[in-house]
């Protein structure tokens, strides 16, 4: 059960990080001069999304 839950969480985080990456690429294409700001914010948001998945993984580990 824990493994299934972790898998679903990874799915959600994958979609989330994918969306962040795609929007960041769009933004960089629109405004290449803002690439540094966009990159920093992209990494930060990706870390926040990934945090949710990691919470789920920890819960999955605990549930065994």
């Amino acid at each position: 059960m824990g493994a299934i839950g972790a898998g679903i969480a990874a799915l959600g985080a994958g979609i989330g990080v994918g969306l962040i990456g795609s929007k960041a690429m769009d933004a960089i294409a629109r405004q290449p001069e803002a690439v540094n700001d966009i990159r920093a914010n992209m990494i930060l948001t990706a870390a926040l999304v990934e945090g949710a998945a990691l919470f789920a993984i920890v819960v999955g580990l605990l549930a065994g």
């Binding site: 930060l44 870390a47 919470f55």
Partner: protein
């Protein structure tokens, strides 16, 4: 012609990473079936000794405290004295690198030779469910004495838990943290001397290697998140966080002696870092910050009754997520690398199938080299993310009342 040295360096790196990881994995002592989960969990948890090679260990000092013991509460010794599970001292034995205590009070105190420590699969009731749990026994004069779990304060997430004794030892993780602190002191005193010597001039030597980090943290982390007015006050804290986490991460990636400890993948370590972030954020919180938590202005009162509990919870959840994020990222990286190395033993059927072992070594080794490079990125990224988020929490706490945050961030560039 020009790219030849690069290829050579890359190949050398690849082969040395492969070789070191093989050495790292080649530690399985107990013959019989290979237990991938147990091996991985054993490698990512803390230990009271450094395991170098089959029989080669570097002992570490142990400070053990048993509050329930009437005569001898404290035991100080080197973990080498346990002779790898063949000796019990004051009812303590070493089991898979961790100091455990024999639960049975009838076991004699002092130095006692034992036949060994062995694990057994037993059915136990865990959280209302029957589960197979490995329980360890010390063999002494034909009898079996049950061992307690190792003593950890992380609630037993990675094995262990609160037991009848407290382990204040300089463990593998503590040693690596001290090493990281020592490295930081040595490197940054030299950097400081560089800034004194080259005042107003271009940086030189090791100083020029670290200056981009300082500038990056100042311009990309502290200034936009904390604001131009307050950022200088918090620079020492943010820089210390960044470099301490970075050094611990990088030491953890080294698969040989001074490294190899999963420091930032230990819940207790990340907990302390998160507590620092929590305390520093909240003692610096100004009137606006507390007002926005307890009685947010400009919204109807009934919404406030919902928002206030959420905001108060948010005070704790923010550092809690810092703690879990760092712990889970670094632990996950170590688990993946160890699992890939474990493929060698799974394919090789623990030494019985040579061909399978070779296939496992090629596949597992290649993926491990790849994962090591990803983990190198993660080591920097997680240090950056931790300091970045801490800076943004501090920024929210010290921000002036009606100040436009985005405007300020814009000016910083």
């Amino acid at each position: 012609m020009s790219n030849k040295p690069i290829i050579r360096i890359a190949l050398t790196l690849f082969i040395s990473i492969l070789g070191m990881n093989l050495a790292w994995a080649n530690e399985e002592e107990t013959p019989g079936k290979y237990d991938p989960v147990g091996t991985v969990m054993n490698h990512i948890s803390d230990a009271n000794e450094f395991h170098i090679w089959k029989g080669v260990h570097i002992p570490l000092p142990c400070f053990l405290y048993a509050p329930g013991e009437p005569t001898k509460k404290w035991t100080f010794l080197s973990s080498g004295k346990f002779e790898h599970g063949h000796k019990a001292i004051d009812r303590y034995v070493i089991n898979h690198g961790r100091v455990n205590r024999i639960a049975d009070a009838s076991f004699p105190m002092g130095e006692v030779h034992i036949e060994g420590v062995h694990g057994k699969e037993e059915m136990q009731l865990v959280k209302g469910k029957e589960k197979e749990v490995e329980v360890f026994y010390a063999h002494y004069q034909g009898k079996e004495y049950k061992l307690e779990k190792p003593s950890t304060l992380d609630g037993g997430m990675m094995g262990g838990g609160i037991t009848s004794f407290y382990d204040f030892s300089i463990t593998k993780n503590v040693f690596t943290m001290m090493l990281a602190a020592l490295l930081l002191i040595l490197i940054f005193s030299s950097v400081r001397n560089g800034y004194r010597k080259n005042e107003g001039k271009a940086p030189s030597g090791i100083q020029s290697f670290f200056e981009p980090f300082f500038v990056f943290i100042r311009d990309e982390v502290a200034k936009p998140n904390i604001g131009l007015k307050h950022y200088e006050r918090f620079m020492p804290f943010i820089l210390t966080l960044f470099f301490f986490i970075l050094f611990c991460n990088l030491l953890g990636l080294m698969p040989f002696f001074p490294g190899g400890a999963n420091v930032t993948g230990n819940l207790a370590v990340t907990f302390v870092l998160a507590v620092f972030a929590f305390v520093i954020t909240n003692i610096n919180g100004n009137r606006h910050y507390w007002q926005h938590i307890f009685w947010m202005p400009g919204i109807p009162a009934w919404v406030k009754t919902i928002l206030t509990p959420v905001e108060v919870l948010g005070l704790v959840i923010k550092p809690f997520s810092l703690m879990i994020r760092l712990f889970a990222n670094i632990s996950a990286g170590h688990i993946i690398i160890l699992s890939l190395i474990g493929l060698i033993f799974v394919f090789g059927e623990n030494g019985t199938s040579f061909g399978g072992g070779v296939v496992g070594a090629i596949v597992g080794g290649a993926f491990t080299a790849f994962m090591n490079l990803i983990e190198l990125l993660v080591a920097f990224l997680q240090a950056f993310v931790f300091s970045m988020l801490t800076a943004s929490y501090i920024g929210a706490a010290v921000e002036d009342g009606h100040h436009d945050h985005h405007d300020e961030a814009h000016h910083a560039h």
